[in-house]
Symmetry: D2
Subunit: 434 residues, 4 copies
């Protein structure tokens, strides 16, 4: 039997908190994680990991939902926050890192995935909001780590430290994926198609929170929603709203019609469906018939058929709304999630180690109820013959995900690290025992 | 009889064009006209006018529709464009200038008003668009002189030059008002209430274009619309759109409902009404139920009752839409226009001098069909015993007002200057003759 | 000079009231006026008029807005109310009568038109409503003479009596047209195209009330609206709303979308426009996705271009709404009004005789502000070389037209008869004098 | 052990078909089942059952969704179809029958429930529709047995025949409930509250079809939806749509707004919800702003909380829509379903006898996915200490329930009778054996 992986839990827990608060201060939205990527890369390099950037881990033509006009600003901001220009140049404009620890000994290939992007949410300005009270609130108005990916990145760094410290006790290869652009399911497909995970035997990923209380581990979440993200661009004709309102083609009115109608897509017999329009920007001057409107939305479904049902309605509504107001519309796909199914072998594994890792309640199934970009990664690993799992690590929350008041229970990061450490131990034993 | 006012028409026409193209390049939206104000002030100072700024010409508590968050940026930009920091400090944060030429001789007080703000319209990027072709297109994306106020300011400067040159032939006092924030009818009330025009005997204002062809003068435009400008701020509750859509209160949905319903306010028996929502900005992240929406709109009516009818519907729709979606709404007044009625004496005057000033077609009445902030100024002058008039100076246009392709016939500025010069001559004669 | 036409005014006024109250009790909607037609025909026959029915006065293929399923019931009801079966058979299913009095003496052909249909309005059940209080309220729930055509028909009968009594003093031919289906402008075109009015030299028509007070005559009403009447038939697919809501195609939702959007057709620069959906009937069972919806609407415009602008929007909205919900739609034209312009010669004539006929206020112009099926008749007469006029006979009202509380001032029918009598006298003099 | 109940299966199957086709020809909607009630009562009386009508089986003040204006017509029609006037008088205006067979021997009280009302659906006019082809199509346009209650009533009569024939082999009391007004869940509460079922030990009910194929028995259907049925009455103000559209308060526009918004009530995290507006009737004349609108709708939820969530939104939308258009609204509750949970003992019982009754596939669970008025009855029986069950008897269908093309596989009625016969046999054995 392999030697147990050892580390100072208390010291690590403190460093996890420090990492998390730093990431929380410097939130970056999808595809803009230049500071975050650089910071993580610097730390991993020091720990002896080999790093992969850009085309090595991302198939560029499968990228979705990237706003090219925001990239230069994001890079500039990262530099102003102290990012390492040398690492930035390695990224070649694309965020995210693959890190590999090759033990030099024969053994399986393990992969762990941590998503690192923040969301476009205004963080609470309330004094009782802990990040504000303690001084690590977001420095970027309108962007915040209101989903917990700051904790995910920190758990990844913590795991990297433990692995580096225990390298001599390990065999095989361990890959850590720090994924950009999970929000909106924009990067998973591109990472999968890069092939970087194709040799992986065991793939692990987790989400903190998700309405699971502190101390609970959910080994096999159910109902990962399929999802399509889309932008609608309406283009009409401006006119002076006082002098000749009849001469305009009102793109804002078309967009509002589309919003109202999308929310009214009929529920489906076969299960859960969702639709949301998260953002609408339309028009210029107050007294001008608006000639353009941009709407950002998403559909979801309990399975692919249900998501397709929703998306087809969206496409029809887009066409009908534009016809209604005599404007043009373009539908731009911006992201897609395809569901996720765990391998039972790994579900059993998590269930068997959970209580030893700081969880006091280990359960099998619970609804996930959202979309997760990891679906593409899990699907790819499984297609190439590996096993994969995605679990939920409980944490009490101060508010729901994507709410400006969101905050996590920071003490729940350590059990995450211990869980991933434990599965490596167990799988190494199994491998050597065979 | 007074000596005729004389000047080199050809040279002035060239300078009018130069002024206009400069203003066109540096467009500034309402309440942000720091560069424009500074530039005009510098020129008038050199011509010997006494200048009035800030509280002297604007009653601050009657200001409407001013976005305080944009002021500092606008000042910074003006400085970067070369504005005179000394003049900027005199403005004390408020744009616009009153300029007075006191002849020292007894006589009437004349006032001429020129509005100087640009509109929030994206100027055409088309190579055939003359300002772009000739290199004087807007330097500020999203802001353009698409209403002709660049020409108005230039006519004002041209008139100032002629007056300064002929000062010895004049008697009485002449006031030139370079008004900010005409778009949206945001400054008129504040200027009127400052009292700066209270001693005026004769007040003149004009608009170029307005579907009146080059060569035509309309002496007594009809149907100035009354108008109310408003912002609606909807505030709801965010929620993760996939996990618990039921937990949100959708501010975007409320705004879209309001837009659709506002456009459907019943037409009125008694005459023309209008309503427009020119801009809507709502939501943040794609997968978040939007918790805020800001809508910029306006109503108009052929008279005050009709505008009130529309505005009361808007207020009710705002309340009902917010109730519908369980969100809060605030209605912020942003501007108001009250109609405008010319004095017949001045209508006759314009009609009698028009043909001598470069117009080949002088007509009495034509629908104005829009709102005009000058209504407050005309109303104030008339209330204080003066006479006032607002006319339309024809100009062929390349596109309607507030359209990105808008451009004027620059040769039509000179007749504007000549018209105002002529009315001074005629009124001075009448005064001396009496 | 001709002898004056004479009659007992007081006795006639009493009979006018009796006629009107009888028609009021037995209201019949458009194309269903079998009892009314029969009653009038019987009276005119006794007075010696020659009667024309059916194809003689109506071109069947130009009929609009006739619900064939209601005809048999209407005939049955007319018989149950005591209609003469013999006259009914002459109608051959089509209501309305042309009546001619041929004096046998040379002279002009005069025509007078009276519309006879009621509207689909529920009459007030209030005890203070005079028709109810005095016992002549509508016997047919949902149908009422709430527009005053009961008075029009009575004036026509009164005129017929006076003419019959004074036949020996008259020359030329006099035609009385008792028109069906004026509401919705459904019969005018068919009557015009029948050619029955093609030999008319002078054509007269009038409306009682119309916001003109008792005692006032308006000789030349302005702004007769052009109008299109239409039905939209939406056809979707039913489904059990609980079991599989996704399987339906919701015709009711499509119709509601269409209604909301129609009310929001942009106002037009060039003048007054209107749109209304007066009726919507959709769906069957509460728990079934509605698979059909029928919507009755109309557009109006100050002129033909404006009405066309509105109607084209309606057609586009119908298509877009059906596309939006995956249903089919058919647009059925149901009526059309084309405007109306009086001949100045007859305007002068009315103005000159009005004060002698019981009017104390004779004015030229006032907005009509509604559509009038007589437009087709006036247009036809004028096209064939005749002169035509349509005027407004004042009457104080208890409520607006088409309101359940509507009632007229019955004493204002007599001036109507006297006015038409007077114009015949005057024109006969002119004819003989020439 | 008891003697087996015996009967001629082939002859009974033929009679079941005859009964079903007769009921199919004479469909009656909820609370209007006078002919159907009378026909069933006559047959049961002949078989020796004691009959209960009116207040004996229905608590009048708990009746929902009854249109009092349609009752007299329905009674008249029933008489015209040959109903027995004597039985009609016993009903005292309320449809439905309770029938009891008292064996005079000690034993349990059994109850079987059969619903008898038709739905408001237009039956297919297609020649290939079997009821039409074979001549038993609905005689009442717009009403049809498109849900299978004609088969339910027939199964009830078939069971009555078998019981009467085998009376001497039975002990205890057997109650047959022929329930009116199941559609819309309008009678269940009133029957439960009458107390007629309070002494029942075993309660059985079944639905034919429901997407279960011929030959399959579902013993324990899941997910009976909770539901609320409601009518919204909007009351506005009429006005002439051409003359003064501003003077109206548009009830139709309010109703359309409500429809669109109801369809857009957000989906709920916790499970299935539904909303439908099945019918909308609004307005009168085409050129009148509609002053009234009546909308018939329903909400559903997978449990009471979810249904309440939907219904509270409906109430808010009703208020907001009426506020939006300045009209009044009244919300009238019309029916309610409360879910349904089977007793496991009876589930086991059905599972054990199913294969012997003509079913070739006996399964435990399947989604029901609709509401069922039997919930109130099951709830009452259970509350009083009895056991209750509701099952699904498979039948291939030609179209979904409530579709005009709906038809059943008539051969599947016999297994229904055999199933109920078998459970009595089995329970009697158990009783005697104890």
């Amino acid at each position: 039997m392999v030697n147990k992986l050892t580390f100072d839990e208390q010291a690590l827990s403190q460093r996890l908190m420090n990492y998390r608060r730093e990431f929380h201060r410097y939130p970056e939205s999808a595809w803009c994680e230049f500071f975050t990527t650089g910071r993580i890369a610097g730390l991993l390099e020091n720990l002896g990991f080999e790093l992969y950037f850009s085309d090595s881990i991302i198939a560029r033509d499968a990228i979705m939902g990237r706003d090219e006009t925001s990239i230069a600003d994001a890079q500039q901001r990262a530099l102003s926050w102290g990012a390492d220009a040398n690492i930035l140049s390695k990224m070649n404009g694309v965020t995210g890192i693959g890190a590999e620890l090759d033990t030099g000994r024969e053994g399986p290939v393990y992969a762990f995935r941590f998503d690192i992007d923040a969301v476009e949410v205004m963080e609470s300005q309330d004094d009782s909001h802990r990040p504000r009270f303690l001084g690590f609130a977001s420095l970027l108005p309108g962007i915040a780590h209101a989903c917990g990916h700051d904790a995910h990145a920190s758990i990844g760094l913590g795991l990297a430290e433990v692995l580096a410290e225990n390298k001599e006790k390990l065999s095989g290869k361990i890959k850590l994926l720090f994924q950009p652009a999970e929000e909106g399911c924009r990067a998973g497909k591109a990472i999968a198609e890069s092939g970087w995970l194709d040799d992986v035997d065991y793939f692990f990923a987790a989400h903190i929170g998700m309405n699971v209380p502190s101390g609970t581990l959910v080994c096999d979440p159910q109902h990962f929603l399929c999802s399509s993200k889309f932008d609608l661009h309406f283009k009409g004709k401006p006119a002076h709203a006082g002098i000749e309102p009849n001469a305009g083609c009102n793109a804002l009115a078309a967009a509002c019609t589309a919003v109202t109608q999308m929310l009214a897509i009929p529920r489906h017999r076969d299960g859960m469906t969702r639709v949301n329009v998260g953002q609408l920007t339309a028009g210029d001057g107050r007294n001008v018939i608006p000639d353009k409107a941009i709407l950002k939305g998403e559909t979801r479904g309990e399975n692919r058929d249900l998501n397709n049902y929703m998306y087809q309605h969206v496409e029809r509504i887009a066409q009908a709304s534009s016809m209604m107001h005599g404007v043009n519309v373009e539908v731009h796909a911006q992201g897609e999630a395809i569901g996720l199914h765990n391998d039972i072998e790994l579900v059993e594994l998590l269930a068997s180690v959970g209580y030893g890792c700081g969880f006091n309640n280990v359960i099998r199934e619970k609804d996930f109820g959202a979309s997760e970009d990891a679906g593409y990664l899990v699907d790819r690993v499984q297609a190439k013959g590996g096993k994969a799992i995605y679990c939920m690590v409980g944490s009490d929350l101060t508010a729901g995900h994507h709410n400006g008041d969101f905050d996590i229970d920071e003490s729940r990061m350590l059990p995450g690290v211990k869980l991933f450490t434990a599965v490596i131990e167990r799988l190494q034993n199994r491998f050597r025992g065979s």
